[in-house]
């Protein structure tokens, strides 16, 4: 599979749909520009209706962009039909051909390309081994488990050696355990083959586990693009912070600053946080606090009152009120710690570096 790896570039892509009920037109994807590096694994993540699947289907060629140009490598591909594009897609429903067995399903693309018989045999052997389906060639697809069908779909996409592999929520029909093992599998195979992969999902843990880069989309536009760490620790806005992981938002006016730290007035209490550039005294700011970054104590931090205390096994789940703001937190490894009960007054403690100013 020695082939030039190709990246994908979207330049100012828009797609307009008509709402079938109201007849109104709206942007499913709006003025989106992206660069996906060759050989990288990129996830399009977002709530349903955010435009991620539309973007993927435009790359595959099933939908045509209303504005902008899509490049595969350096070649513009807007005018190419899906069958002429060097991409292969793994569908949410697997979309295996039900009247073919495993072998014919996987070999379908090769036969269309008129690959000689011996080569088909050889490539099939290799690919079925890669997805661990050797010996299942003669099975009909409805005799396979969900995970196996998924592997057939993956093998079918891989065997034609496309430049880019596209995944449309491929694991959403599997049960939770299988989903976790399949995503490790997908990552392993992508790394082994070294292919560029674009993966659509609404499951943030899937996105975290798989991707080199995550693109978060909301209402048709890219909200943020970055590595999983960047997105988790430095979300650009409340939507991203809330969508990736759990987030608490604390709001307050800035009252002072010193050496890169800022002081905010949150619910009447001073809060010291790591500042960011361009902050000004007197302005209102929101900070993001992750539930696992805080703990409860008898003194220091922000005074609060416990409104929910719940043992979850690996952690104690608290909801506390800081003034009128609800904060959720997870105290991990709670076995030897003091457990606060509902109605108790205590203090919410965290490092100034653990919060992120939006």
């Amino acid at each position: 599979m020695e082939k030039m790896k190709k990246g994908v570039r979207l330049e100012h892509i828009s797609k307009i749909y008509k709402d079938p009920k109201t007849g109104k037109e709206f942007y499913a994807v709006k003025d989106t520009s992206l660069t996906i590096e060759p050989g990288s694994f990129v996830t399009l993540l977002g709530p349903s209706g955010c435009g991620k699947t539309t973007t993927l289907r435009m790359i595959a060629g099933f939908e045509s962009p209303d504005e902008g140009e899509i490049y595969l490598g350096d070649e513009p591909i807007n005018e190419l039909t899906p069958n002429k594009r060097d991409t292969a897609m793994v569908f949410q429903s697997y979309a295996l051909l039900p009247h073919y067995n495993v072998f014919d399903n996987v070999a379908y693309g090769l036969k269309l390309r008129k690959v000689p018989k011996e080569e088909i045999q050889e490539r099939m052997m290799r690919i079925l081994e890669l997805v661990e389906l050797s010996g299942m060639e003669a099975r009909m697809t409805n005799q396979l488990s969900g995970g196996q069908q998924q592997r057939v779909a993956l093998a079918r996409a891989l065997v034609i050696e496309p430049s880019v592999l596209l995944f449309d929520e491929p694991l959403s029909n599997l049960d939770a355990k299988l989903r976790v093992s399949m995503r490790t599998e997908i990552r392993r195979i992508q790394q082994e083959v070294g292919i560029t992969a674009i993966y659509v999902t609404h499951d943030q843990s899937e996105a975290m586990a798989l991707s080199d880069n995550i693109i978060i989309m909301n209402k048709g536009v890219v909200a943020q693009m970055g590595t999983p760490q960047e997105i988790y620790y430095h979300p650009v806005d409340e939507f991203v912070a809330d969508f990736i992981g759990e987030a608490n938002f604390l709001r307050g006016k800035m009252t002072g600053s010193e050496q890169g730290y800022a002081t905010l007035n949150v619910e009447g209490y001073p809060l010291r946080v790591r500042g960011k550039e361009g902050m000004e005294i007197g302005e209102e700011y929101t900070v993001v606090l992750r539930p696992e970054a805080a703990s409860l104590g008898d003194e220091g931090g922000l005074p609060c009152r416990v409104v929910l205390s719940c043992f979850m096994g690996s952690y104690q789940n608290y909801h506390v009120m800081v003034g009128d703001t609800l904060v959720k937190l997870e105290e991990h490894n709670p076995k030897n710690k003091r457990i606060y009960q509902v109605g108790e007054d205590c203090h919410l403690i965290f490092e100034p570096e653990s919060v992120h100013v939006l």
């Binding site: 099933f62 962009p65 899906p82 292969a88 949410q92 979309a95 039900p98 009247h99 379908y108």
Partner: protein, 569 residues
């Protein structure tokens, strides 16, 4: 917002697919030439036919008492037949879905639903006359009534009701099965009696469906030609009046105007049925039954309902059986025994039966694969592809459903006897077998398309997309994925088209020339002349042919239908 680029790209992608483009162009040409154009020419003719544009012809036909009476008659018959058929259909459907039936009654129900499919639509008129007419076996020889008149209003109503109620029964059965039993159980649980449950839950849920069944039957009744022709006597309906206006009065312009009136009535009904009632039916009955229904075992309900329906079913079956038996009586009305085969012999020796069967058979055999393939292609395009003229293709092929055969027949006469727009172009096909084949195709296309569309809607769209994505072009996708997956639907479409073609009469009778003898036209002729034994002999052979075709199809699907294996999933 500018959607221009997306649309332009979609068009470019389509153009990159020459087979697809050719198919679309051919389809549009076919639909325009053979469905839209004949209807359009009727409009043109009825406004300008007598020279000069205006309502002159309409004024003329509306001044004819025969015509205005025919409108009244048609609507009256259609209304009553619609109501009776949907009620009887509802009774049968309810009994089948809600009451535990024994094997015998269940078998009767199956036969009743099957009979109208395999028999020519007008055989019941024959048996009605033979059983209950002036010299009817039952009226005269069993009951001693000598002056029973079956011809006219009641004759048509009874015969059409018996012919069309199985269609309602099948439609309503499907709907009843979709009612979630827990809705009715909930009502029972709150203390409602069985009758209350039916009146308060089942019936309101079924109302749009019943309305739908009523309108479908209404349209069928209005469009029916052969039954009023045979059993109507002097009671004329629109279809027969139009026929007589052409064949009797040679008033083609007048017939065109009448056909426009008939078309407007059916189109209005069809529009209500399609856009209002179908949507409503779907809206009220969305849920699939969550689990099996508790069938009614209560003897006080079960026994009377079963007996009532079984008697009804046996009556219908007796009507059909009367046809082959009637063909064996030596002299119908006087001498019943010993049974004889002489009429069958005469069909072939005296009346060129072999040619009639050969012509009908060959023309239908040519038409059916064309119909089946066309309807599958249309369904594929409508369900799976998007392109600009898709709306046109869908609308016109659905429109054909609402066009009565007589109207189409007149349209073809007006449209092609003088060539396209009376210019002589394509005049050559008039009076040939080709035009008969085209009419067969047009007449069965809507049914095939409808079943194709519903079969294709069940197939996940991404299966075809995946093949497309793997590198197959549209033609390859259709041949290697779509067609194999809807093989069953294709095969049954093939046989349905064959059966519909070989039993068709309304449009064909206007277009057939002496060069072709068609069975249905022969049956009609003999029935008109009162040669019922010969008509029955022809009809019997026809039923045998259609029934064998259906049997063959079922066998074929059983052994070669791959889709079955897939469905077992």
């Amino acid at each position: 917002m500018a959607r221009g680029q997306g649309a332009a790209l979609d068009r470019k992608k389509l153009m990159a697919d020459p087979i697809m483009v050719t198919t679309i162009v051919v389809l549009i040409t076919f639909l325009t030439l053979f469905i839209l154009y004949p209807l359009a020419i009727l409009l043109v003719d009825s406004f300008v036919g007598d020279g000069g544009f205006g309502f002159g012809i309409f004024k003329r036909v509306f001044a004819m008492p025969t015509f205005t009476r025919a409108i009244g008659n048609t609507l009256k018959v259609g209304f009553v037949v619609g109501i009776l058929s949907s009620l009887i259909g509802l009774l049968f459907a309810y009994v089948e879905v809600y009451v535990r039936l024994n094997k015998f009654a269940g078998g009767l129900f199956k036969v009743v639903s099957m009979l109208p499919v395999v028999s020519p639509p007008f055989v019941l008129s024959l048996s009605m006359i033979m059983l209950f007419g002036k010299a009817g076996i039952i009226t005269r020889f069993l009951l001693g009534i000598y002056d029973n008149n079956v011809y006219g209003y009641w004759g048509i109503v009874i015969v059409q009701t018996l012919t069309f109620f199985p269609v309602c029964y099948m439609m309503l059965k499907g709907l009843l099965k979709n009612i979630d039993p827990s809705l009715e159980e909930a009502a029972r649980d709150m203390g409602a009696s069985r009758w209350k449950v039916f009146a308060d839950v089942t019936l309101p849920l079924m109302l749009p469906g019943l309305g739908n069944a009523f309108l479908v039957t209404f349209i069928e009744s209005i469009a029916d030609f052969a039954n009023p022709m045979i059993i109507g006597g002097s009671y004329d309906t629109l279809a027969t009046t139009i026929y007589l206006q052409i064949t009797g009065a040679y008033d083609k312009a007048g017939a065109a105007a009448m056909a426009v009136v008939l078309l407007c009535i059916t189109l209005a009904m069809f529009a209500v049925q399609k856009y209002y009632l179908e949507a409503k039916t779907a809206a009220t009955l969305t849920g699939k039954a969550s689990r099996a229904r508790m069938l009614i075992e209560d003897k006080s309900v079960k026994i009377p309902l079963t007996i009532l329906c079984s008697l009804g079913a046996m009556f219908v079956i007796m009507m059909y059986i009367c046809v082959p038996i009637g063909a064996c009586f030596p002299t119908w009305g006087y001498k019943f025994f010993p049974l004889t085969g002489k009429w069958f012999a005469q069909v072939f020796t005296k009346y060129r039966g072999l040619k009639a069967f050969k012509d009908s058979f060959v023309l239908s055999l040519i038409a059916s694969p064309i119909t089946a393939l066309l309807s599958m292609i249309i369904s594929y395009l409508v369900v799976k592809r998007k392109f600009k003229s898709k709306g046109f293709i869908e609308a016109v092929s659905m429109l054909a459903m609402a066009v009565p055969g007589t109207v189409l027949g007149v349209g073809f006469i007006r449209g092609y006897s003088g060539g396209l727009f009376h210019t002589g172009v394509l005049q050559g096909i008039y009076g040939t077998g080709l035009i008969l084949i085209i009419v067969f195709v047009v007449r069965s296309l809507p049914t095939g398309t409808r079943s194709g569309i519903s079969a294709l809607r069940q197939i996940d769209k991404s299966i075809e997309e995946s093949a497309y994505d793997m590198g197959a072009d549209s033609f390859k996708v259709f041949m290697t994925v779509t067609l194999p997956l809807i093989k069953d639907s294709f095969l049954s479409g093939l046989v349905t088209a064959f059966v519909r073609s070989i039993t068709a009469i309304s449009a064909i009778i206007l277009l057939v020339t002496p060069a072709y003898l068609l069975i249905t036209v022969q049956i009609n002729e003999f029935a008109e002349k009162g040669a019922f034994s010969l008509a029955c002999a022809f009809a019997t052979i026809l039923i045998i042919i259609t029934y064998s075709a259906v049997l063959l199809m079922n066998l074929f699907i059983k052994y070669f239908g791959t889709s079955r294996k897939i469905k077992e999933d």
